[in-house]
């Protein structure tokens, strides 16, 4: 299963759900975002039983990106109970994304 594309409506719906939500804020012109995408889809598949994994195109959802104070791409934000509990900008490896998820959920 690959990461779900989210618009404002789906973002709001999924954040209200029981499972934590990981969101990749990205843009089509952002080179580093493309580099993240294959390992990110792998993470979506590996964590599908306990985590919602999605992505938001900040060009299409500019207001959402602004409201979430995204200013570097890609930024991954982890939400729990509707609130952002951690974020990581331009992670260098799949392992770093994994570590970010584990550490943030453990807090």
């Amino acid at each position: 299963m690959s990461a779900v594309n989210m618009d404002q409506k789906l973002f709001t719906e999924l954040l209200a759900g029981d499972r934590p939500v990981l969101v990749d804020f990205w843009a089509p012109w952002c080179g580093y975002c493309r580099r993240i995408s294959a390992p990110y889809d792998r993470i979506a598949a590996e964590h599908q039983d306990h985590l919602v994994v999605g992505k938001v195109n900040v060009d299409a959802e500019a207001q959402l990106a602004q409201a979430e104070r995204i200013e570097v791409l890609p930024t991954l934000v982890l939400y729990r109970n509707g609130k952002a509990v951690g974020s990581i900008a331009a992670p260098e490896s799949k392992a770093m994304i994994e570590a970010f998820i584990q550490e943030t959920l453990a807090e």
Binding site: A27, W29, C30, G31, Y32, R34, R35, I36, S37, A38, P39, R42, E71, V72, L73, T75, A89, A90, E92, S93, K94, A95, M96, E98
Partner: protein, 309 residues
């Protein structure tokens, strides 16, 4: 978790050098694994336009070229794991690679770990990354539309970043320690013609000014010693690259710049270990020289494997 399987060749890093080695190795019938921490391409994956790689007369973007190199190597049987290598034992037999995805064993190892942007080394630099401090104009430049940015550096990448940003930002200030650029001549004229670009020669950034995010930099004139503040919204650091050789420090011989000592044969100081691409000591770091290294490394590895050691 140890994967008991012993590969003929394990390649660390999936840039152009790494995937060319994978292509040649797989075609030579070697059981080949690529360990890549993120995605194919390395630094090349962030290059929007490559005009000096033969065969693409209309240019190609680095990410696409990387995907093609990966697909080509995998077509002949090379495998890829998205794994971060944490420790290496290069003198063991077989060679041992401990990673985020378990331990892998290989008869030969090709190091294709490349190089990363060098930090400026001023206080709070890391904390302000993403809040005004950036290393990649092609990636983050769009956030500075209509704003004032400082670019620090004097080489080709600083010149290219300053030019790119001059088309986006309101004003670009290029800060360099010397009184002239080291950048290739082709950059000089376009830089001079960019009306919103100004130079601060003989200057160094000695501090960062910030609230929630970067608000300016502290500049020191290296001739007069005078220190003053310069307001800006962004700082793009473009001061060269550092080879990714932390993993092999103490095991392999490195040159004073930290690059792996290996000649045109790509052989390192340990038999069965080869260094290709930007991580190797060399005069010209380009995609074409990296792919060339990859092919040579496999040739040498085949000789090594045939020797039975």
């Amino acid at each position: 978790m140890t994967h008991g399987h012993i590969y003929d060749m394990i390649i660390v890093g999936g840039g152009p050098g790494g995937y060319t080695a994978a292509l040649y190795a797989a075609r030579a019938g070697l059981d080949t694994l690529v360990l890549e921490k993120l995605s194919a391409g390395g630094q090349m994956a962030l290059t929007q336009q490559i005009d000096n790689y033969p065969g693409f007369e209309d240019s190609v973007d680095g990410f696409t070229l990387a995907e093609k190199m990966q697909a080509q190597a995998e077509r002949f049987g090379a495998r890829t794991e998205y794994a971060q290598v944490e420790r290496l034992d290069l003198t063991a037999s077989p060679k041992v690679l401990e990673t985020s995805e378990g331990t892998f064993l290989g008869k030969t190892v090709v190091l294709a770990t490349g190089a990363d942007p060098r930090k400026l080394g001023v206080d709070h630099e890391e904390a302000l990354v993403g809040r005004g401090v950036a290393y990649c104009a092609a990636c983050d430049g769009m956030f500075y539309r209509g704003k004032t940015v400082v670019v620090v550096g004097g080489g080709n990448s600083a010149a290219a970043d300053a030019l790119l940003l001059s088309r986006i930002a309101k004003k670009v200030i290029l800060v360099h320690r010397r009184d002239a650029l080291r950048a290739t001549k082709i950059y000089h004229e376009p830089l001079k013609q960019a009306e919103n670009l100004e130079f601060r020669w003989n200057s160094a950034i000695t501090g960062l000014l910030y609230g929630d995010r970067l608000t300016g930099v502290q500049l020191k004139n290296l001739n007069s010693g005078e220190v003053f503040n310069l307001d800006c919204d962004g700082l793009f650091i473009s001061v060269g690259r550092t080879p990714a050789t932390e993993l092999v420090r103490g095991q392999l011989e490195l040159d004073p710049g930290g690059y792996i000592l290996a000649g045109e044969t790509t052989e390192t100081s340990i038999p069965g270990v080869f260094a290709v691409g930007d991580v190797r000591t060399k005069r010209l770091r380009q995609v074409v020289t990296a792919v060339s290294d990859g092919a040579v490394a496999v040739h040498m590895a085949e000789e090594y494997l045939a020797g039975g050691t």
